[in-house]
């Protein structure tokens, strides 16, 4: 999917990628039929989302093309979404048994991204992509490419922190190369995700939260008191706030979120239709958004949660929340039983990828490729829980150590 660019090779349009996402999972399903009974709960969630979008399509008189293929250059229409959901279930079935294969595929993607990103940075890319503010890999936008690198950075990191692994310095090289490319992309998103991954993964890997809770109370108080003045200084520093606002475009994002809320408020139950925001944003945009351009009609809300509510109403919005809550429940169960696992490093990596992807969707728009990576990781985690942890608990097979 990384190489799934359009036939003319000069446009980052996602139609080909979206078509692959719609077709491949169906072909896999024909070859390896799924037992949907094993995934009743998440299948129901996915079904609710798909059915609501069908109702919404009818209610809003959305065009068939838009409904099936999604918005231009986004292409997360109903077909791609159906494919994505199938792929999540297939990932649960397959990658729960072959988890390392998934992390290896992700690592291969990271390495290909490093090589291709370097070619782009050196201005040696033979493909004449539309130029953005930085390099876009094959994702069409430096925000997405840096997010991809940030999300995948956890894989070389996991190898670097695994002292027994050979070639640790090569992994360190890959890890640093990802950081350099993120910094060269001129996009802050990747850096945020890279830093988040570093903190989150090391906390998981070394069980830092438990260790923090176990230290003496007075040390906890002192460490919090030590951080507090720094936080206060940053929050009260106008220059820092201005810098933060311009770097992260907080005001712009807030405007999008408010617009999403206004759209949802008028379309509470079924939203405005899958990938149909831009047809409504003209009516709901604020004067600030208007000041960005006469014909600026945002097609995404820059927050997947609000986006789900605006496009699919309460049914899709809550279904997505339930899905996220379920994955956190699964992660909780997996972490409780983590010491029983021989593949605990892979599980940590998948948890980090899923959560970093979620973080990305909270302040940016969804991207079909990033979404696929996130959902593959979530699917694998659900599969591991379904086939291993559940049966461990059911058979009273082992007492899970703390």
């Amino acid at each position: 999917m990384f190489f799934a660019v359009t036939t003319s090779l000069n446009s980052p349009a996602m139609l080909f990628r979206s078509s692959l996402l719609a077709i491949l999972p169906v072909l896999i399903l024909i070859r390896h039929p799924l037992n949907f009974k094993n995934y009743k709960f998440i299948s129901t969630i996915f079904l609710v989302i798909l059915l609501t979008y069908i109702i919404s399509w009818q209610i809003n008189g959305q065009s068939l093309g838009n409904f099936l293929f999604g918005a231009y250059n986004r292409n997360i229409g109903i077909l791609a979404l159906l494919g994505l959901f199938l792929l999540t279930l297939e990932s649960a079935d397959y990658f729960s048994k072959f988890t390392k294969k998934l992390t290896k595929v992700f690592y291969a993607t990271a390495i290909i991204s490093i090589i291709y990103g370097t070619i782009q940075v050196l201005d040696q890319d033979p493909i004449p992509w539309e130029k953005g503010a930085g390099f876009g890999l094959t994702l069409g936008n430096p925000n997405f490419s840096s997010s991809l690198l940030g999300i995948l950075s956890v894989i070389p990191l996991s190898y670097v922190l695994n002292w027994e692994k050979p070639y640790r310095y090569l992994h360190l090289y890959a890890y640093v190369a990802l950081l350099v490319l993120i910094l060269l992309s001129n996009s802050s998103q990747g850096f945020i995700l890279y830093t988040f991954n570093l903190i989150f993964y090391t906390s998981l890997r070394f069980d830092l939260l438990h260790k923090f809770l176990e230290i003496k109370r007075r040390y906890k108080v002192w460490s919090i008191l030590g951080i507090l003045p720094i936080m206060l200084f940053l929050v009260l520093n106008k220059n820092f706030i201005t810098y933060l606002n311009s770097t992260l475009q907080i005001n712009h994002r807030l405007e999008h979120w408010k617009m999403g809320y206004r759209i949802w408020r008028d379309h509470v139950f079924f939203g405005v239709g899958i990938e149909n925001i831009s047809r409504f944003s003209g009516e709901y945009r604020s004067e600030l958004i208007r000041s960005w351009g006469q014909y600026t009609h945002p097609d995404k809300i820059h927050n997947s949660l609000i986006d789900n509510f605006a496009t699919g109403g309460v049914f899709v919005g809550f279904a997505w929340i339930v899905f996220i809550a379920y994955t956190f429940f699964v992660i909780g169960k997996l972490l409780k039983a983590i010491n029983l696992h021989s593949r605990k490093m892979s599980i940590f990596v998948l948890i980090s990828i899923w959560i970093t992807y979620l973080v990305q969707t909270l302040f940016s728009t969804d991207h079909i490729y990033l979404m696929t990576i996130g959902m593959l990781a979530a699917g694998a985690l659900i599969g591991i829980y379904t086939y291993e942890v559940k049966s461990l608990v059911r058979n009273n097979f082992a007492k899970i150590p703390n």
Partner: protein
């Protein structure tokens, strides 16, 4: 994007039913023709209808139809189309300028003035705004005399 190339614009308009590039092309073609003072409704109307086929909420589609109705001297239809365009994009000042022109044409200067005030608040640098504003002032002065 070569707006002056009809083969290219037709390809976009009649290709995959993607609204965004179709709208971009039709806005480009309308602006291009406007700047050359040669609006060709035989070309533009099918584009507008195509936009409305893809989305009933296409403000640009309604605006093109309004421009063509005006050329055909159909003031009621022009007003209806401009209102529909503004319904789906109320902050678009180009559409509002068109409404000012309509109100001036029917000598409804109060509503024209209200519209001018709105544009003044949103974006006074809009194309043709100074022109319609001055025109309104002249008409009002004439009426007072």
């Amino acid at each position: 994007m070569d707006i002056s190339n009809k083969m290219y614009t037709d390809k976009v308009m009649n290709g995959i039913p993607y609204y965004e590039p179709a709208e971009k092309v039709s806005v480009g073609v309308l602006n291009f023709q406007n700047s050359n003072n040669s609006i060709d409704c035989l070309l533009l109307e099918p584009y507008a209808n195509r936009l409305l086929e893809m989305s009933k909420r296409s403000s640009q589609g309604y605006y093109i139809l309004a421009a063509c109705s005006e050329l055909k001297n159909q003031p009621d239809k022009t007003f209806e189309m401009v209102n529909l365009a503004l319904k789906y994009d109320p902050l678009n000042t180009v559409y509002r300028v068109a409404r000012v022109a309509y109100f001036i044409n029917i000598s409804d200067f109060d509503r024209a003035q209200r519209e001018v005030d709105i544009i003044q608040g949103i974006d006074p640098s809009t194309d043709q705004f100074s022109y319609v504003k001055d025109l309104l002032q002249q008409k009002k002065n004439l009426k007072q005399k």
